[in-house]
Amino acid sequence: MSALPLVALVGNPNAGKSALFNALTGARQKLGNYPGVTVERKAGRLALSDGRPVELVDLPGTYSLDPNSPDEQVTRDVVMGQQTGEKRPDALVIVVDAANLDNHLRFALELLALGLPTIVALNMVDLATRDGLELDAAILSRELGVPVISTVAVRKRGLDHLRQELEGLLNGAPRAYPTGAAQDFDAVRREAGRIARAAIVRETPSRRLTAAVDRVALHPVFGLILLLGLLFVMFQAVYAWSEAPIAMIEGFAEAIANAVRAALPDGIVRSFLVDGVINGVGSVVVFLPQILILFFFILMLEATGYMVRAAFLMDGLMAKVGLSGRAFIPLLSSFACAIPGIMATRTIADPRDRLTTILIAPLMTCSARLPVYAVIIGAFIPARDVLPGVGLQGFVLFCLYLAGIVGAMLVAMLLRLTVTKGASGGFLMEMPKYQWPRPQDILLGLWQRAVIFLKRAGTIIFTSTVILWLLLSFPRVPDGDPTSQVDHSIAGRIASGLNVILEPIGFNRDISLALIPAMAAREVAVSALATVYSIDAGDDEALLERSLGDRLKDQWPLPTALAFLAWFIFAPQCISTIAVTRRETNGWKWPLFMVGYLFALAYVAAGITYWTATAAGL
């Protein structure tokens, strides 16, 4: 661990802790994991006025030091100095929501009793003022015995003051902090209430924005319409907004490929670079815009406070399949990627609820499936409007997502009746105030996602593409032999073997071939197909110039394409998901169960689709 002074940001959920963390550290953040647990560690550097750096760590939000979930356990262990791999913080910044003082002060008092050097950040004072509350930070400071600084993290107000106080705290002579004896919960609560009443100078009832919005957003009918509308806009936007940037990336990859073709003589090296590296990786990177659009919506829904409303609306429905509305949040995150989704299930206290949510998370259509859907839909579904402003392609995509959701609900119901049988856990959530997020915070989140995606493209996807290229390129077809290179290669032979199993559901040899490397990551199926067809084309310039979509359209019958889409609704292959499930469930039993049931579902769904489509004469 670093020798820098360590300062921990700690506080209740919804106290604006992360916004304060972003405002203090800017883009210089490091995301990692606490050793042995999958709780994300968010750390960043903060420079004091004399230039001395301080390491700032953003601890998971919690309501008390009595942990209810693995996240909250980490917060407790860090502030107590019991977390492996983290030294005890040299100072704490306790973040409290000015508009929720009595409640947040109770936890603050619990933290103050630890006796660490502490500053209290009285955050979101602007929202408190909006709600008609006037607070006196000086009174609060006197009552608590530590500096209290009013901040508005999203407007960067009070940050310099906070930095100054922190400097004084870290430089200053060690002074005695009140280490209160462990007090009983109700006594601390009453004390917090007393201090809050002393610090609140004036309270005038005022119209509250949140209450007004909630009348619509939480309405049983209008709220549901709003939620479905939002989700529909989200999926339409994934297509509509991404066209231009995708064309740019494609043009760029094409330009590089052409430059390589011009610079290198025809041969194995050129084939490796063009077919393996540029075509393979390029065909996945091209989906970065769509993935970022999806993440943009999810980050916005979370940051504005709407996500919890969605959970509230969905709780009734989720209860019917034995889950709670809380599961809706990890499941919605799983639309971006099942890994953060599965990790987010840690906030679900009930172990059976949590396990069920983990097991169905891979059924939510993750962004890695988007490249696969996008290629197939682009090639086989005509780009026309079914209704004014509603494209058929977007509509089909929406249906695929819907199929995943319906599948997940049915599976959850079955699991709750069998392997995760038992009384359902409850649904208890705080509903934060609505707020407009700072654009920088959203951009930072998107940037972090883009880096993670490109790292994946650069490592897992690159490696598997290269291995596939090797397996496809060797042994070389002897000159004059009429068999194609793909048929002759090692990969082609493996795929032909596998095809015996997959042929009944309409999959051809090329699909079997693509499914193997797609174990590494689902989107590799696309780069694998690109590599297969690129090698298959050999030197045929006319073929090389055609896009992957056009090639697929030439070579696949429609029922096969539809079966391929159906397969990917359930497609279990993603090593990272299996690994994170193993880690979160502490063993191999559940990940193996998950993979098994997903494979079975994928096979049956693809089969039914293929047979139905063929029978319908498509």
Binding site: Y63, S64, D66, N68, A99, N100, L101, D102, N103, R106, F107, F185, D186, R189, R190, G193, R194, T210, A211, D214, R215, L218, H219, P220, V221, L224, V308, A311, F312, L313, D315, G316, A319, G325, A349, G426, F427, L428, M429, E430, M431
Partner: protein
Amino acid sequence: MRLTDLPLRQPAYVDLIDWSVLTPSEGQRLREFGLCEGASVEALHHGGIFGKGPIACKIGRMTVAMRRNHAAAVTVRTGPEAIGPEQDA
């Protein structure tokens, strides 16, 4: 009257909580949300198209969502005579 029967947006106070119907961790979470005898409560929204969804209510300054079975464990009373331990502390 139970919290589930409290008309929407009518201020009330918590009279009694039947902790026995809550699991220890649910009880702890509700306490952390500020639920205690004497706390002010206001039911804000009933969720669910079929009337069986969760209830959003204000406890003190915090808005909290809970299921009906939990809300039914909370007995509330309305009116100005409501003085809880929160006030006389």
